[in-house]
């Protein structure tokens, strides 16, 4: 049951025509639920688009590094928020510890990021190592691995 007397919106010449089973409060509640669904859909769509852009840009980054003879051993992607993503890129030891190659990679990453307007994609580089703890990486939100089949 709803009490219409507590919801007395000022609608000029309009008056509420509902009975006691359908109040202004019900309408608001319904609109809220519908609006919430639309908003959720919009958020999911925005997130999916951002994630797709991040994945494509990360693949492009890998290609560009290859052109500079920088070998990418693995890549992981994570969502930081609706428009912010981070890609962890594991490159060969040799390339990482060459200042020239590493800084060239930073430069490529900046250029790629500057070309995207809708999201912010940060690239983090690290050398590939036998000590890599993939559990730690995934536990920090890197749920997407480059080339993962499962």
């Amino acid at each position: 049951m709803t009490d219409n007397s507590v919801n007395d919106p000022k609608l000029l010449d309009f008056n509420f025509v509902g009975d006691e089973h359908f109040s202004f409060e019900d309408m608001l509640h319904h609109a809220y639920l519908e609006g919430k669904k639309d908003f959720q859909k919009e958020l999911i769509s925005k997130m999916q688009n951002g994630l797709q852009t991040s994945a494509m840009t990360s693949s492009l980054f890998k290609e560009k590094l290859k052109e500079q003879n920088i070998e990418v051993k693995d890549m992981f992607l994570r969502i930081l928020d609706l428009t912010e993503f981070e890609c962890l890129v594991l490159i060969s030891d040799k390339a990482y510890y060459s200042k020239e190659m590493r800084w060239s990679a930073y430069n490529i990453a900046r250029n790629l990021n500057n070309r995207i307007d809708e999201i912010d994609l940060k690239f983090s580089l690290m050398p590939y190592s036998e000590y890599i703890k993939k559990d730690t990486i995934t536990s920090e939100g890197y749920c997407f691995k480059y080339g993962a089949q499962e």
Partner: protein, 145 residues
């Protein structure tokens, strides 16, 4: 060691971290902490040269404001966008430091420190050398600048 007249709290903190970094490096066996202290020293040296300064308000477009400290800047930024301090500092360094080498050295420090946990802190000499080169360069830039 670096000296300055009327040093700011971030400068003193930077020097403190730099000295800890050097001592740990000499001591040996604490490579992960050498990299960590180098990063936090670099961050504080850069904070010292970046503040106080007038910057665009991070949220209100077209508005400028004088920020006396990094904390006051992050307060305006973080409250609205929830960004973390390291990300804010990286962006500030990238936009306001005009020497690309210093920007890259800071990136070296940040990444080598932040990714150490992914190798269970088994930090090798290569990473230590990279971090010590970076912190020396940043210190010299900030003290001479």
């Amino acid at each position: 060691m670096a000296h300055k007249n009327n040093p700011s709290p971030p400068f003193n903190h930077a020097v403190h971290n730099f000295e800890a970094c050097s001592a740990l490096n000499k001591l040996g066996g604490y490579n992960d902490w050498v990299v960590t202290t180098a990063f936090y020293s670099g961050m504080k040296f850069l904070e010292d040269i970046l503040f106080p300064e007038v910057y665009d308000h991070p949220v209100k477009q077209g508005e400028q404001k004088e920020y006396k400290t990094f904390s006051s800047y992050t307060r305006d930024f973080g409250r609205a966008l929830g960004l973390n301090k390291h990300k804010i500092m990286s962006d500030l360094v990238e936009k306001n430091v005009d020497d690309i080498k210093i920007i890259n050295y800071y990136e070296d420090l940040k990444q080598s420190c932040h990714t150490a946990r992914y190798i269970n802190y088994q930090v090798g000499q290569d990473r230590v050398n990279m971090a010590t080169e970076a912190i020396e360069a940043i210190k010299n830039h900030c003290v001479s600048g």
